[in-house]
């Protein structure tokens, strides 16, 4: 039995399209068309995740989000046409678990929904336990001892080189590593024009761990400087 998902948008066509997509994936869907409806609907304990638009009549998405948070602890994905960094930061700081910009990619949306659900259900225990030495970063968790990387609880198969890169980045979240540095640490050789090599490996890692490898959430390029692992809550 899959979890029920509440989809909120003032445009019924969009709600419908998302609902169809989700239902095809086997998720039951509830619909709401403004903020107040959303607040009402979320009281049903069957609802396990909310997809909510920001700009809506009666009560906008972010205000509704605040009210929902007072009542329930469940993953909320904000779906908005506002694509600027400031909007994203605002959404996330007001309690959203993820932020997807319109027009969205249906595949990515489903991947994000699935990821959020898994983190809130099956992974809840893992987070609560806070196993010793486990490095947690958003939907990723890394066990340095066993060199095991999990995304949404599933183990990610990594080659030895990829594993070394992940190891390096996970130990220093937020720190920027130039390609030469990564190469020297991972390959134990002095680097010379290694940008392509490093990039190839990073791209492969991204394909394995990111929901949208083209717009990565975790392993990011700092243009003109190097690469870093973004820390998520």
């Amino acid at each position: 039995m899959n979890e029920c998902i509440l989809v909120v948008d003032d445009d019924p066509e969009i709600v419908n399209a998302i609902a169809i997509t989700l239902e095809r994936e086997g998720y039951p869907v509830r619909r709401a068309y403004d903020g107040l409806q959303a607040v009402d609907e979320c009281l049903d304990p069957a609802v396990k995740l909310i997809l909510i638009d920001v700009m809506m009549p009666r009560l906008d998405g972010l205000s509704a989000l605040l009210r929902i948070r007072e009542k329930r602890n469940l993953p909320v994905i904000v779906l908005s046409a506002k694509s600027e960094d400031t909007d994203k930061i605002l959404g996330l700081s007001m309690g959203a678990d993820d932020y997807v910009t319109k027009p969205y990619n249906p595949q990515e949306l489903i991947a994000r929904v699935r990821s959020q659900l898994r983190r809130y259900t099956s992974l809840g225990d893992v987070h609560a336990e806070g196993r010793q030495g486990l490095l947690v970063n958003g939907r990723l968790s890394y066990d340095p001892a066993g060199r095991i990387l999990r995304a949404d609880g599933d183990e990610v198969k990594l080659t030895p080189t990829e594993s070394k890169i992940v190891d390096l980045l996970f130990h220093h979240p937020g720190q920027i590593f130039p390609a030469e540095e990564i190469y020297r640490r991972v390959w134990n050789e002095d680097a010379f024009s290694c940008e392509n090599t490093v990039m190839v490996h990073i791209r492969r890692i991204r394909e394995k761990i990111e929901l949208n490898p083209k717009e990565p959430d975790y392993i990011k390029v700092v243009w003109g400087i190097g690469y870093k692992m973004e820390q998520h809550g």
């Binding site: 969009i14 169809i20 095809r24 319109k102 027009p103 969205y104 249906p106 392509n196 003109g224 400087i225």
Partner: protein, 801 residues
């Protein structure tokens, strides 16, 4: 529009040639004023300049020397006669000799001409004065004036005249063989002969014979008439027979200059040597050194004069040809002038002034120091002019003064040329002056002080000066009052009234100066207010007292301040509205687009007939493109409104390019294009927003991938020079590039058919993002070669902190 640049039969070589020609023209235009010297132009310029220099110097020196010589009258006239025996001086001397011989022959002083003439035979260089003729001869002075080599004269001290020897009357002439003479007087027993040749021979014949050889000048005085033969020619002595100013020979025998009775029996033959030799004689009787080398000196003078004039003439001739050469090469001399100007520009104005002064002093000092000499000569020149110092005399005096120092004159001329050249070639600002620099620095330091201080100081000075004047004026006032009291009268009262008026004026000026101290305060307040407004204070207006002189100005300033405030508010509001509008439009576009994309995706998942599936696919593709365009338009609108958020940081441009290439490695590999990448090994540090700049290069490479000719090479280069980093992406276009198109404008693309899948915004975004990051973006197209260039100022290593 399409067909204009799409016809393919154009020769690409032609386009390239046109391009090269254009480049050369532009380069020439950029270096405006810098003439491109043809080979040989340098030589031409130098030759022309040297010709001018030589020509002017020679001409000036020759003209100066000539003017000097003519003005100072150093030559026995006539000037252009190079036979010394044809000069007035020679004729005068011959006349003098004849007179002497006649005196000897007559046995004592004779009346030469009815007592009007008299002479003093006691010394050489006789002065003859005659009212009507006004002739003044002075051989001795002429001889001194020229630098004819007189030989070294041994000072001969007069020997003790133990016994006065009896001497012949012609003793003084006997040893001088430059003049041979034969004097005969009396008849029969009374007959007396004085000669410095053998007296036994028939002297007339001998002298005649000699006059043909060494002694070419022969004079005979017989029967009261003079006949002269020069060489083989008899000269016309008497002319019209009347002695007047035009007569050449001052000898007796004219109708109005008859021979006196005493000379009737005297016959004189004399011959003068063609080339006189130096001769000295000593006259003990007179108790001093005595020499008579008048003929020798004269001959030497004329000879010297001839060589002088011929030399100067030759110099003038050379100078003329030099100037002709210069005239022909005139145009090409300009670079030399410029070069010289580039040197002279460094000379300070004071130095120039000093140089000119020194040159002027050098030129004129000798004349000024010897003004009495000049005056004397001026006087001598004006002698003979009816009105004293005539115009010509003054002119001659000026020529004398000016030609006194010819080298200085030449130096002055070249100095003038140099300064003129400098003024023509160099702009006024380039000139340097110590005084001006000093004044400027003083003024600058003065300007640093606040305006009220400056005003207070100048106002205080004025007040002090006025007070002093007032105090000083009281004394003459008191004197005047006393005078009027003692000598009452209408003029005295008038004067007193005038003085009182002046005094009142002074008091009024004092009052004004005192009042202006308040004005200075107001000006200071106004200046502070202007400064505050400039600094951005639009809130506080300036309040001056109602009766202040600057009240009106302050009110105007307040109005300006209020106007600025309103304008700024309006501008802020409109900027905000613009961004809001763009944001809303973008949002409103995205909402339906989301539906389209979602349903297109759902449609694709349906089991459709093949044709319908194709349609769905097309809808999806176009919707995707629309999505890209909407995002691009949003970005570009924000950039245009200066609302694009940029996070500037120090980054390595070379690394950024490597990362971009690595990131786009997949598409690059797929494209079949060869990327020739040339990046420096060392970091190229610039300040920019990495994400925006990545977008710039992503767009540029994307552009190359999309529009480059299949299988061609794409060149990506990063160069650093003089504090700038220049990254360029160059590719050969697949289709012909239109000319005169701004590729960075929105919705412009090389192929106007708009079917290539690009938004037409790539280069526009690259351009606005580059500029938002503080760089410069430009596109160069040459024929089918497309180059996009991104330029950034590089960070200096020292700035790392």
């Amino acid at each position: 529009m399409d067909t204009k640049w799409n016809n393919t039969d154009k020769d690409p070589g032609e386009a390239l040639e046109r391009f090269v020609a254009e480049e050369v023209r532009e380069a020439a235009a950029a270096g405006k004023g810098v003439k491109v010297l043809r080979p040989g132009g340098r030589v031409k310029a130098l030759v022309g300049f040297l010709a001018f220099f030589l020509g002017m110097t020679l001409a000036l020196s020759a003209l100066g020397a000539l003017g000097n010589r003519i003005a100072w009258e150093r030559d026995p006239s006539p000037r252009w006669e190079w036979d010394w025996q044809e000069t007035d001086a020679f004729r005068g001397e011959v006349s003098h000799y004849l007179r002497e011989f006649l005196t000897i022959g007559a046995g004592g002083a004779v009346d030469f001409y009815d007592g009007v003439y008299y002479w003093d035979g006691g010394y050489n260089g006789a002065v003859v004065e005659q009212e009507a003729i006004r002739t003044w001869w002075g051989f001795g002075e002429v001889a001194e004036a020229t630098t004819v080599d007189q030989g070294t004269l041994e000072p001969v001290f007069p020997a003790e005249p133990e016994k006065e020897p009896e001497k012949e009357p012609d003793a003084a002439y006997q040893t001088d063989k430059n003049v041979l003479y034969y004097i005969q007087s009396g008849e029969g027993k009374e007959r007396k002969i004085y000669t410095n040749t053998d007296p036994t021979k028939d002297e007339q014949g001998r002298l005649m014979a000699r006059s043909l050889r060494e002694y070419n000048f022969y004079l005979q005085f017989k029967d009261g008439k003079v006949s002269i033969r020069k060489g083989l020619q008899d000269l016309d002595v008497y002319g019209s027979g009347i002695y007047d100013g035009d007569s050449k020979w001052f000898v007796p025998g004219y109708d109005n200059f008859p021979v006196s009775e005493d000379l009737k029996g005297v016959t004189v033959y004399m011959a003068v040597r063609q080339t006189p030799e130096r001769y000295y004689g000593v006259d003990y009787k007179n108790g001093g050194t005595y020499y008579n080398s008048a003929f020798y000196s004269l001959a030497r003078q004329v000879e010297e004069s001839e060589s002088f004039y011929k030399t100067q003439g030759l110099l003038l001739f050379i100078a003329m040809w030099c100037l002709v050469v210069w005239c022909l090469l005139r145009k090409s001399v300009e670079p030399v002038n410029r070069k010289i100007a580039s040197w002279t520009v460094h000379v300070w104005t004071e130095a120039r002034f000093l140089l000119v002064t020194a040159c002027l002093l050098w030129a004129l000092l000798p004349g000024l120091l010897n003004l009495d000499l000049v005056y004397e000569l001026l006087y001598s020149y004006s002698y003979g002019w009816e009105d004293g110092y005539s115009f010509a005399a003054w002119g001659m005096a000026v020529v004398r003064l000016v030609t006194m120092n010819v080298p200085a004159l030449i130096a002055l001329f070249w100095l003038w040329r140099l300064l003129r050249n400098d003024h023509q070639q160099n702009p006024r600002e380039a000139r340097r002056s110590l005084l001006r620099t000093l004044f400027r620095s003083l003024r600058a330091s003065e300007l640093k002080r606040p305006v009220e201080k400056r005003l207070a100081r100048s106002g205080g000075l004025v007040l002090l000066a006025l007070l002093t004047y007032f105090a000083l004026s009281l004394f003459p006032m008191a004197v005047l009052v006393n005078f009027v009291r003692v000598h009452p009268g209408i003029w005295g009262w008038c004067l007193l009234l005038l003085a009182c008026l002046l005094e009142a004026l002074l008091v009024w000026a004092l009052y004004s100066a005192w009042r202006s101290r308040g004005l200075a305060k107001d000006i200071a307040a106004l200046a502070d207010q202007v400064e505050a407004v400039r600094a951005g204070d639009l809130e506080r207006p300036l309040r001056l007292p109602e009766d202040a002189d600057l009240r009106q100005t302050a009110e105007s300033l307040n109005d300006i301040q209020a106007g600025m405030k309103a304008a700024l508010a309006e501008q802020t509001r409109s900027e905000r509205m613009k961004v809001e509008l763009v944001s809303n439009v973008s949002h409103d576009l995205k909402t339906p687009l989301t539906s389209i994309l979602s349903y297109a995706e759902l449609l694709r998942q349906e089991d459709l007939p093949p044709a319908a599936a194709d349609y769905a696919k097309i809808i999806d593709q176009k919707a995707q493109r629309l999505k890209t365009m909407v995002e691009d338009v949003f970005d570009i609108s924000k950039a245009a409104a200066d609302q694009l958020p940029v996070h500037l940081e120090r980054l390595d441009l070379a690394k950024l390019l490597r990362q971009t290439l690595a990131d786009l490695d997949g598409p690059i590999q797929k494209s079949g294009l060869t990327f020739k990448v040339e990046l420096p090994g060392e970091p190229v540090m610039i300040t920019a927003d990495g994400r925006r700049l990545y977008r710039v290069f992503q767009n540029l490479i994307d552009n190359a991938l999309r529009y480059a000719l299949e299988g061609s090479r794409v060149y990506l280069k990063l160069k650093t020079a003089e504090g700038t980093a220049e990254a360029s992406v160059r590719n050969t276009s697949r289709s012909e590039l239109p000319e005169g198109v701004d590729f960075t404008a929105r919705f412009v693309r090389g192929d106007s058919s708009r079917t290539d899948g690009g938004s037409g915004l790539g280069l526009s975004i690259a351009s606005s993002f580059t500029e938002a990051c503080g760089g410069a973006f430009r596109v160069e197209t040459v024929a089918d070669l497309f180059t996009a260039v991104v330029t950034f100022p590089t960070e200096q290593e020292g700035q790392e902190a």
